[in-house]
Every structure is written in structure tokens, then in C-alpha cells.
Symmetry: none
Subunit: 235 residues, 2 copies
């Protein structure tokens, strides 16, 4: 149930890559339209495929199932999110990386607000999609946990701290995002949403305090150097 289904298939023979992307888009469009107009349970895969102009069998070559056509970009999103973590400078405080990563995901939802709003309505009306949505958050939480754990090896209760911090950040992200969506997913609402999310830093466990203590210490040092005059050998 977790294979990619649609691996880019290396060498690009046969129908062009643009063709595949086009079919995919047609299927997603058809699915969202039909779900919105006739309801999710009332729409069959046959309907979606027919509306997109392909065979039923082809639908299952693009999506693992009917539910996947609603939010088909989790795979790609997770990949990009992972890149954010791995590209982060090792010296950057954990908290900073984690918050930046979460805001990166936030921005991906912001990117096409219309689609986000449509999916939000759909997901909150259909029980099966709600379950799916909840389950689809897990890989994100796992990704956060994994990278946090990597930074906390050896620390006291590192595993626990990683799990708790990841859960907290993801929860804050979702809370902020849901509020934004519920309020209409407007352009003006984006910044308040970001701010609301960022306030999770005030609630974050010891990691936050540790990092900030570290920052404070470095600032104090800097101030001290400053107070002692320009004697220190800083270029």
C-alpha cells in the first residue's frame, strides 16, 4: 500500500513526460470536480476515469486508490521537506531548522490556496478522507522526529524529546493551518497564520530554552567583547 505507483520510470520512452503529467492533472481535476458536485461516496473510479478521458485501469496506474486523488502531492512534499532538513547548516540551532521546515510546508499550502480550500472542505465532510488525512500526517511527524533524534543523540531522553518536539511542531502547524483554512484561506490571513504558528516556539520544550540560552550566552559574549572595546581580533 506504500509503493510509489508512479515512479518516473527512468528512461522516458513511449508517451512523453508532459503527457503523463497532463493525464495526471486531468484525473485530479476530474476527481475534485466530481467529489465536490456529486459527493465522494457517490463518485466511482469509473466516473473519474471517464471524466478524464482514460480507462478505469489507467486511474490505478496514477494513484494507489480513490482517496489518493484528493491529495496526490504528499510524496513530493515529503521529499522537498527532507531536503530542507538535509540542506540545513549543521551549526543552525535545532529549533530554527524545525520551525523553518514547518513553515516551508505551510508555504506549500499557501502556494495554491484555492486547491487547499477545496481539499479542506472535502476532507472535513467525508469520514474516509478524514482518516486518510490524519494518517497522512504521520510521515511528516516521523520525518521531524527522525531529524530531531539525529540532533539529540546522547542527550538525556533524546528519543522522548525528539518525539514530543516533533509532535508539538506538527500540531502547531496543523492548528494554524486549519484556522487559516477555516477562515477562508485568504491572502491576508497568511501572515497571521505564520505568526500563530511561530508562537509555538514559546511553548516548546527544553530544546527551545537550550537553544535560546545558547543564543543568549553568545550574545552576552558578544556584548562583553563589545564592552571591552575593539581589541578582540574580529575581522
Amino acid at each position: 500500500m506504500y509503493r510509489p505507483v508512479d515512479a518516473p520510470s527512468g528512461a522516458r520512452r513511449g508517451r512523453s513526460a508532459e503527457g503523463r503529467a497532463e493525464v495526471r492533472r486531468a484525473l485530479v481535476d476530474a476527481a475534485l470536480t466530481l467529489f465536490a458536485t456529486h459527493g465522494y461516496d457517490e463518485t466511482t473510479v469509473d466516473d473519474i476515469a471517464a471524466a478524464a478521458g482514460v480507462a478505469r485501469r489507467t486511474f490505478f496506474r496514477y494513484f494507489r486508490g480513490k482517496e489518493d486523488a484528493v491529495s496526490p502531492d504528499h510524496e513530493a512534499c515529503l521529499t522537498r521537506l527532507d531536503a530542507v532538513f538535509t540542506a540545513a547548516h549543521p551549526g543552525e540551532p535545532v529549533l530554527s531548522v524545525v520551525l523553518r521546515a514547518a513553515e516551508f510546508v505551510l508555504d506549500m499550502y499557501f502556494a495554491d490556496a484555492d486547491a487547499s480550500r477545496i481539499r479542506f472542505r472535502l476532507v472535513h465532510e467525508v469520514a474516509a478522507l478524514r482518516d486518510r488525512e490524519v494518517a497522512s500526517v504521520h510521515p511528516y511527524r516521523q520525518l521531524f522526529t527522525r531529524h530531531l533524534r539525529r540532533r539529540l543523540v546522547g542527550a538525556a531522553d533524546g528519543e522522548l524529546r525528539a518525539a514530543v518536539t516533533a509532535a508539538a511542531v506538527v500540531a502547531a502547524h496543523n492548528q494554524a493551518l486549519r484556522t487559516w483554512l477555516a477562515e477562508g484561506a485568504t491572502e491576508e490571513g497568511k501572515q497571521p497564520c505564520r505568526d500563530r504558528f511561530r508562537r509555538v516556539a514559546d511553548l516548546l520544550p527544553v530544546e527551545a530554552a537550550d537553544d535560546l540560552f545558547d543564543v543568549a550566552r553568545r550574545l552576552e559574549d558578544a556584548v562583553e567583547r563589545l564592552e571591552r572595546g575593539p581589541a578582540s581580533g574580529r575581522p
Copy 2:
């Protein structure tokens, strides 16, 4: 997909309540046995029903679906958990209630360690059950969030704090539980598991906020020193 399916049906005519409970147990036993021996995907509902000595149609009168036969007690567990919250003295600190509630759930897993271990293996081997498990955690998190929100009305960022705290507690619970299960779900492991979970209190927002205030104070002091100090130019 979310109706109870098995409402106690008020007046108890026809087959006795004991009869129903017995059939239910037989179905769960048959399901777990078959899943363990022949694999989850390879076991059909027909197989389970036949092994339990009832018709296929009857299975669906006890469970919403094949997946529900693995962990059929979530409904009851949620009810009991809700009772813990509502029975709590209004004067008891939020943190105390929340930790007690989570430990209550922990104790329910401890109650029959054998079944917990079997289900743990099963859930972590079958993808469909993993998804189900992840989704089934959501109602618990929601319950924690709801009761926390009730205690935090009016507080600054009450919604956010409720969501984050609930997520943190649930994550800590699951982390401790998973570790216990992975280590064999032994009797001796129970207390360490409880202790491990309780350490989440050290990571919870309230303390962190205090720390942050401290950090802010030190920063303010530093800035003040800087402002008062000799306005030496850039080093």
C-alpha cells in the same frame, strides 16, 4: 464508517448479552490467530467468520470491517478516558489531570500485555493496520485537546497551547508505550515505561515559558549594558 455498529440495543431480547460477548470474543480470537498464522492480507472475512463458527454477514454486525477486529476496544477506551477527565476535580492542575489520563490509557495496555504484544507485532507488519493505528490515535488526541481547551479558555493562545500540549502528551505516551512493547512488554518494564512517560512533564510548555522569560531577562540586561556602555564603534 463511524457508527458504533454494536450498540447494546437497549432491551435485550433474542440471544443473551453473554451470547453476544462470547461471539465477539470468538471473532477476535479467530481473527488474531488467523492473522498471526496466515498473514493479514491472506485472511478473508470468510475465514474469520468460519473459524468463529458464524456466518460472514454476522462478522459485519460486530465490526465495521476487517481492520476493526484487531483493536476492537478503542470505543470503550475513549469512553473511560473521557470519564477520567470529567471526574477530575476542577481545582486539580491541568498538567496533573492530563498526565493521569495518559497513564490511565497506559494502564489499559498494561492490563493484558499479551494481547498488546500480539497487536503490536501485527500492526507493525501490515501497512493497512499501521495506517489504521495512526488514525485511531486521533480521537485520543482530540479528547485531550478538547479538555485542555476547556481549561485554557481566555488564556493567551489557548487553542494553540491545547493542541500542542495534547500532541506532546500523546506523543510521549506512544513513545513510552512503543518502547515497552518493543522490549517485550514485560512486567518489569511497566514501571520504567511509566517513568519514561512522566518525564514528558519536564518538556511541557509551562516550564519552558519560565525559562524563556529568564532568557528574555538576560537579553534585556545585556542590551541595557550595551546601551549604557561607551558607545564604541564597530570592532
